[in-house]
């Protein structure tokens, strides 16, 4: 393996590793922020209806899971709390099909399916680096000689 080829392999592998780690961190941050946003919506909704007689919104954890699952499964935006002060009630809309008369907020310019793009690109680059290294490998390296 020539020195230039080894340098190319190292650079490609480094870029791939950086993309994989950075993309994984981005996915984790997105998941945490989505959960935090849903948690805020659910808390506000449950706290509001706790003071209203005759309304029961159900278990807090179940509602949180439902909102997050719908948001991630439909590749939708974050859950949002829509307030209609004239009618004196709060409605939580989430997902791509949150409601007929509710608007779909778009709070971030990416979706769950696009946020994994860095991880995919990094994986492809890492596999490419391994293939290039495999193409330059020879059994002479097993003897202990310098492959360069």
């Amino acid at each position: 393996m020539t020195r230039v080829r080894r340098l190319v392999v190292v650079v490609i592998a480094a870029i791939g590793v950086i993309l994989i780690l950075g993309g994984a961190a981005l996915v984790v941050a997105d998941a945490q922020s989505r959960t935090a946003a849903a948690q805020q919506v659910v808390d506000e909704l449950v706290d509001y209806y706790a003071t209203q007689d005759g309304y029961e919104v159900g278990n807090r954890e179940t509602l949180l899971r439902s909102i997050v699952a719908d948001s991630i499964a439909n590749d939708g935006p974050l859950p949002d709390l829509a307030t209609e002060p004239n009618r004196n009630f709060l409605g939580a809309t989430y997902g791509a099909f949150g409601g007929v008369f509710s608007y779909i907020p778009l709070e971030r310019p990416w979706a769950a399916r696009l946020i994994v793009a860095p991880v995919a690109v990094g994986g492809v680059l890492l596999a490419t680096a391994l293939l290039v290294a495999a193409a330059g490998w020879s059994p002479r390296q097993r003897v202990g000689g310098d492959p360069a």
């Binding site: 849903a38 899971r65 499964a73 000689g145």
Partner: protein, 256 residues
């Protein structure tokens, strides 16, 4: 190139692709009658290339230099003939037309060493000491550590991605059914784990699971394509030296 129409008259035909001794003539000049167009350095290089075997049984200094794919180099300086492999398009021509020529020189080559396969690589001009590219390509793929790592990593990625996505689906749907939410039953959230951590892991599995699965499958397919591109006919592979022999010949101890 003129590999199919003819050979470049400016250079020695034996070093050009498509050279056939039966067609273009491969008889070497007698000793002491060097071709006039050959320089001294070229003559020295030829003598080095067709040097007789060493007394310890090893090959000459440049006998293992990569040549045209599948070509064989003679070890006898007096009969530098290149024999084509069986799968070569010139192989049949040589077997038919070159029979008489070999018969006439049979007594002359009786004491000659058997032909040694030295070629097969793509870089025919590579004169570095070391195994020819054919040796690396003829090595079994499961001996290449990079390919092993790629296959193993691909399998692990595929399994992990599948399991992550399956776990996310269970978190989304199965837990709902078991808790009775889907079917309108009572919800039991007392024994449920931390919902935030569970939801974060569910989203990570939902997002990364399919990507990791696809990457793993793609890595395995890439290795298959890599091995398929480097695959050669069995007849050629049989002529190549095995890995152990190649390594043994290339060890510094064999060639001081």
């Amino acid at each position: 190139m003129a590999e199919s129409q003819g050979l470049d008259p400016r250079h020695d035909p034996i070093y050009q692709r498509g050279y056939d001794p039966a067609v273009h003539g491969g008889e070497a000049p007698a000793d002491g009658a060097a071709p006039s167009r050959r320089s001294r350095a070229r003559r020295s290089s030829d003598e080095d290339l067709f040097a007789p075997p060493q007394p310890d049984g090893t090959e000459g200094p440049r006998a293992r230099t990569a040549g045209p794919r599948g070509a064989t180099a003679p070890r006898d300086a007096e009969s530098p003939r290149v024999s084509m492999p069986e799968w070569s398009p010139f192989g049949e021509l040589e077997r038919d037309g070159g029979a008489d020529e070999r018969d006439t020189s049979a007594t002359h080559d009786a004491k000659a060493e058997p032909m040694v396969v030295v070629g097969g690589g793509s870089s025919g001009s590579d004169a570095r000491p070391g195994p020819p590219p054919a040796a690396a390509s003829s090595v079994a793929p499961w001996r290449n550590p990079y390919l092993i790592g790629l296959v193993a990593g691909g399998a692990v990625l595929a399994l992990v991605g599948f399991q992550m996505f399956r776990s996310a689906l269970e978190t989304i749907y199965v837990d709902f059914a078991q808790s009775g939410m889907i079917f309108g039953g009572e919800q039991s959230s007392e024994e449920a784990p931390d919902p935030v951590a569970e939801l974060v892991s569910m989203q990570i599995g939902w997002s990364l699971g399919p990507v990791l699965f696809v990457l793993g499958i793609a890595a395995i397919l890439a290795v298959i394509v890599f091995v398929a591109v480097r695959w050669r006919p069995a007849s050629t592979a049989e002529q190549d030296p095995p890995l152990g022999g190649a390594v043994g010949r290339e060890s510094p101890a064999s060639h001081p």
